[in-house]
């Protein structure tokens, strides 16, 4: 019983983290058809921004519990600064290039951002464990779980539900969906695609930064922390279907639970189990579980 509960909790917490780091990637691909490799570096920048903002908060004598404010604030700060710079300077001029060219451009941006991080913050690690330790732990069936991990679950739920509501209910969200479905027709109907691309890319950056900022208290913040994350995020997005928000959610849940089962029941299989799931899904559905339908063009 306790093992089943542990698998459920560990799987859910890991899935929440995966969803947070993958959802921005799938959103940007869905709207802009860009496989954004720089997502991993933006995640890293988010973690460093959180370190700097929380450090400034503590140095300024801010309230102990108020530290979660600068932690979360790192996401919009990075999104608003980095998003427009990357989109306007590098991606917009190359928008009509092939997807592979754009992917290489974002790979170059990944390397530039990683080196920029070293230039600004250096190579020595930073630690930001206060937000992780502050709320303490909770005992569930003999196992202690940090309350912070349940905060990650709440954050992922808020992001998922908020994004679903925005895309399905709001006017702007409907326009974004129209662009996802068919960019040219949406433009013909009056959608300002330039503005939508800018907003979506910046929002994608903010989501990556949120993932990094919320992860920062649990790890040592180092320049290369985004490398492994981008690989995992791709696995999740490919399983769910590139460009699908619900796909990213189900991909994260699938990977989270399968991995938790492997760790608890068959640790030897942990390393390859995620990729086994990915390979199996792609064998059955080559476009992933929830790839959005393509409009047929004549």
């Amino acid at each position: 019983m306790s093992e089943a509960v542990a698998i459920f909790l560990d799987g859910s917490i890991y899935a929440a983290w995966l969803f947070l780091v993958a959802v921005g990637l799938t959103l940007v691909y869905g709207v802009m058809k860009i496989v954004n490799v720089a997502h991993g570096a933006t995640y890293t920048v988010g973690a460093y921004a959180a370190v700097s903002l929380c450090g400034a908060w503590a140095a300024g004598g801010g309230n102990e519990w108020g530290i979660y404010l600068p932690l979360v604030l790192a996401a919009p700060v990075v999104g608003l600064i980095l998003g427009p710079i990357l989109e306007r300077l590098f991606l917009r001029p190359l928008r009509d290039e092939e997807e592979t060219v754009l992917m290489l451009v974002t790979y170059a941006l990944f390397l530039i951002l990683e080196d920029s991080v070293k230039f600004i913050w250096g190579v020595d690690p930073y630690f930001l464990s206060e937000p992780y330790l502050l709320p303490g732990g909770i005992d569930i069936f003999d196992l202690t779980y940090p309350v912070y991990n349940f905060g990650m679950l709440i954050a992922a739920t808020v992001v998922g539900v908020g994004l679903a509501w925005f895309l399905s209910k709001s006017k702007s969200g409907r326009i974004v969906r129209a662009v996802i479905h068919d960019r040219e027709v949406a433009m013909a109907m009056g959608a300002n695609v330039d503005r939508i691309y800018l907003a979506v890319f910046s929002f994608g950056c903010a989501l990556a930064a949120l993932g990094g900022a919320l992860t920062a208290p649990t790890v040592s913040v180092i320049p290369s922390m985004g490398v492994e994350v981008i690989v995992l995020a791709f696995a999740v997005v490919v399983i769910g279907g590139m460009g699908s928000i619900i796909g990213a959610l189900l991909g994260a849940l699938l990977v989270g639970f399968v991995r938790a089962m492997a760790v608890h029941l068959l640790p030897e299989a942990e390393l390859f189990i995620i990729y086994l799931v990915m390979a199996t899904v792609l064998l059955v559905r080559p476009s992933g579980l929830f790839a959005p339908a393509e409009a047929r063009k004549i």
Partner: protein
């Protein structure tokens, strides 16, 4: 003012060199290629501290300020010139960089390599190019246990020693251990370390059983699920050879969940974390430093000089990677000077340096180093483990146990895995 000072310094250095020159036969400089991670994940914990150590040691040697048995300036009077190369990148890149160092930069000696993958790839190239190469940190036993090289030396003990000593520490301090578990990175280093630890535990505490062996991906970063599995397994002892960000993330994520209270956690490369995480490491954690380095280093003149100079320059204590670098450069220096003495004071040839290096015994900042295994090309050394304890807000290491080199290193000609399997027969 600045240019005046620099000019004055240049004149002073020239005058000093001119004064020394007649006594040391107008020695040409010895060019050393130093290869270490300057970027990438291994730069922070290992590469940069090793680079820092090389920098201050070479400066100290050139100025004749290193005390103790290494007081001679440079290498036998010849000033040392350092050419620094980043180890980050693929092994193919490293092989190209190595060729560049040897064939274009014309270095006399190469000192380098932290990554086991890189040292395994470089060794055959060193043989091909016939260049004396001193490996300073890489841990894989395979380097010199499975190959016989003429030009390749390793001045640190391999990873077998770390794992064997870790199990001996458990056997002596926790003889009632009934169960143990592991969490190690899923690649050669993690697998080898776990396998040697498990083998030694079977020999020393045969009644103890393995509850779980977790092998997460290298640089995974998130260990919540593995920590749950370890907590659920309730082992008496947990072994981990984690390093860098993975090690720090494990400590940060596991300590608040009580893992370090419920089990004795032994971190074989834990010394690099104590300088950075400090009081985040719970009391009772067993720490290793891959040899008698850093907190385990002896109180000698040369170690005091190294500690002080390093702290003064970098505002942090040197870690074990720094000590490994010092050990490598001092090994090459001792061999060079022994060869020079044998050659009647003439600059020694590479062949003469190699002959002097084989089987050499010398003092480093970490104590005695014996180039005794693999036909005199592989160093053996004592090692130590200790337990963390917070004293007045400062992390200290108590209950330190030292293991003589012969107790934790295989005899000449025997592979460490075979030695463990034989029950440590000599």
């Amino acid at each position: 003012m600045k240019s005046f000072s620099l000019r004055a310094l240049a004149i002073a250095v020239s005058a000093t060199l001119a004064a020394v020159a007649p006594a040391t036969q107008a020695a040409e400089s010895v060019k050393i290629g130093v290869v270490t991670f300057l970027s990438g994940p291994a730069a922070g914990p290992f590469g940069v501290p090793a680079r820092n150590a090389a920098e201050i040691l070479i400066e100290g040697l050139n100025a004749g300020k290193v005390p103790g048995p290494h007081a001679t300036k440079g290498f036998g009077g010849a000033p040392i010139q350092m050419v620094l190369v980043d180890e980050f990148g693929s092994t193919t890149t490293q092989v190209s960089e190595y060729r560049n160092l040897v064939q274009r930069q014309n270095v006399d000696i190469v000192v380098g390599y932290i990554s086991s993958g890189n040292c395994l790839a470089i060794a055959p190239v060193a043989e091909e190019l016939k260049k004396l190469t001193v490996i300073f940190d890489c841990g894989t036993p395979r380097l010199l246990e499975e190959n016989a090289y003429k030009y390749v030396f390793r001045t640190n003990s391999h990873s077998g020693m770390d794992s064997i000593a870790a199990a001996l520490y458990v056997a002596s301090t926790k003889p009632g251990t009934k169960s143990y578990a592991g969490i190690n990175q899923n690649y050669a280093w993690g697998q080898d370390c776990w396998s040697d630890f498990e083998g030694t535990m079977k020999a020393k505490l045969p009644a103890a059983t393995v509850t779980t062996s977790q092998m997460p991906k290298l640089f995974a970063g998130q260990y919540g699920t593995e920590i749950s599995a370890l907590l659920a397994a309730k082992p008496d002892v947990i072994h981990s050879s984690f390093w860098d960000g993975d090690l720090e993330a494990l400590i940060l994520q596991a300590a608040p969940r009580g893992l370090f209270k419920k089990s004795v956690v032994i971190l074989t490369a834990g010394e690099t974390a104590i300088h950075k995480l400090g009081n985040a490491i719970p009391d009772g954690t067993v720490i290793g430093a891959r040899g008698p380095h850093s907190v385990f280093a002896p109180d000698t003149e040369i170690n005091r000089w190294f500690q002080q100079t390093y702290r003064d320059r970098y505002n942090t204590p040197p870690n074990y990677a720094s000590y490994h670098m010092v050990q490598a450069i001092l090994g090459a220096k001792t061999a060079y000077e022994k060869a020079k003495a044998a050659a009647g004071g003439a600059d020694p040839t590479q062949e003469q340096i190699i002959a002097a290096f084989e089987g050499l015994t010398y003092e480093s900042a970490s104590g005695k180093v014996e180039m005794r295994n693999s036909k005199g090309h592989q160093a053996i050394q004592e090692t130590a483990y200790g337990t963390t304890k917070m004293v007045k807000g400062q992390l200290t290491v108590t209950n330190v146990k030292r293991y003589p080199a012969d107790m934790v290193n295989p005899p000449e000609g025997v592979k460490s895995a075979d030695w463990i399997a034989s029950g440590f027969k000599r």
